[in-house]
Amino acid sequence: MAEIPRGPKEIHSMLVRLTEELMKSISAWDNVAFIGVRNGGELIARGLVKLLEEKIAKQIPLGVLDIALYRDDLTRRKFYPEVRSTDIPFVIDHKDIILVDDVLYTGRSVRAAIDHIVDLGRPGRIYLLVLFDRGGRELPIQADFVGMKINLPDEQVIKLEASADKENIPGVIISEVKR
């Protein structure tokens, strides 16, 4: 596997490539909406929407999803997640949703995100787009669009840096964690 891109410029390049892939695969944009999973997915979704809107000269609806309340490990953890707001400013019914997250690993976050979305409405279909697919699935979930497939030892976590402003794509952090 190639060296994992880390800097903001490199991440931005990944987004440009993903945008081209999306342009090739999606023929009609009228019914498409993006939903980014907090926090990492939100930044990526924003970045993609910005790039796409320039290309197709049309506005694409963008929503943000918090999955804290749909996790399956909620009451088994010692520390549990802060609940942040979910903001979907469009009707979900019949839409083609592009669900965006930064990393696809066990697949549990995506499962939670899908459960949350169907509680909000009945989408026409859901595509999954992730920046990094690191394997290690525990549920039968696959992404439709992948920025890069990577390999990481179990003790390491990869995620998007926190960003102060929502406009600029940050870099990526890889850190050690005890599981």
């Binding site: 996790r71 942040r84 979910t86």
Partner: protein
């Protein structure tokens, strides 16, 4: 995030940061009540027992809805027809319930102090829904949430609490909470309704309502009970309404931005009139709506996380 409390007994136990955490989180939970499917699986499989030894419709309903919207299972027990009526002590009742492994007991009790005792004796979460005249923390939190929702802040607000302060747990919890977050409180009541030692509570004291009406950002009216006439706390509804009721004349003197609150149930015509309760300044129904959201937050915080881990 780490929430260090197994129980919620009193506002006095919370720090100002913890109060803000609850208020901020409640915004998210409020969204759930607004959408079509008013349910999230967060507390799926958890059991919440509602032990209400005092008659209460709205608080009980509010807690039940909160639990159910988080997908918890609920059981409501009331005083009449229960073992309590047959003479069983409250401790025995609680231990019996505990043997069936609930995750949380929401308790409303007519005498002060029980929730604290249960919190010490029982391993599950205890949430105080009002114990005697001591505290009613979830009410104060939903009141503060409602104020913050309207004004965008709590710090520096002038809140007037009007009525039977002496017998009100709502007043007490609100005073503790509001002071922690930097609001200023004025209590308004005839002397008979002011508790001994109120001068040490860090609140302004007024026995005349009119001067306060035009100064307050929030006017919170408390319900006055008719039985208090027979206990010589005040002379009657006519005089009380005249001097301490929120009527049209007083509403017209309020600051343009000021709001009217009431924990309910209201005594229309006594402490509050139609003009005040149903007018544009009233956020009384918002309080009820926010109550469910705040109680969802409290259940989520108390039950989320493994309570057996240190």
């Amino acid at each position: 995030m780490n929430w260090p409390h197994k129980d919620l007994i009193a506002i006095q136990d919370l720090t100002s940061e913890e109060i803000h955490t609850i208020l901020d989180m409640s915004k998210s939970f409020k969204e759930i009540s607004k959408r079509d499917i008013k349910k999230v699986p967060a507390l799926r499989g958890k059991t919440v027992v509602l032990l209400f030894y005092e008659a209460s419709t709205r608080t009980r309903l509010s807690f039940e809805l909160a639990a159910k919207r988080l997908s918890a299972d609920t059981m409501a027990l009331s005083a009449s027809g229960s073992s309590f009526a047959k003479g069983e002590t409250i401790m025995d009742a609680a231990l019996n319930i505990m043997a069936m492994s609930p995750d949380c007991i929401v308790i409303r009790y007519p005498y002060a102090g029980l929730p604290k005792k249960l919190a010490q004796e029982l391993p599950c979460s205890i949430i105080n829904a009002g114990d005697g005249t001591h505290e009613h923390p979830s009410q104060a939190l939903l009141d503060m949430y409602s104020m913050q929702e309207h004004f965008g802040k709590l710090d520096g607000l002038h809140v007037a609490i009007v009525g039977d302060i002496l017998h009100s747990r709502v007043a007490r919890s609100n005073i503790y909470g509001l002071k922690k977050v930097g609001a200023h409180v004025t209590v308004v009541a005839p002397k008979t309704f002011l508790p001994v030692g109120v001068e040490t509570w860090g609140v302004n004291i007024a026995t005349a309502f009119d001067p306060v009406v035009s100064e307050a950002d929030v006017i919170m009216m408390l319900r006055v009970q008719k039985e208090r006439i027979h206990e010589q706390y005040f002379s009657g509804e006519r005089e009380y309404a005249y001097f301490y009721g929120l009527n049209k004349k007083r509403v017209d003197k309020m600051k343009p931005d000021a709001i009217i609150m009431h924990p309910g149930p209201m005594n229309r015509g006594v402490e509050i009139t139609h003009d005040a309760a149903d007018g544009s300044r009233s956020i009384i129904l918002n309080q009820v709506e926010n109550g469910v959201a705040v109680r969802m937050t409290l259940l989520y915080l108390s039950l989320g996380g493994n309570v057996n881990v240190d």
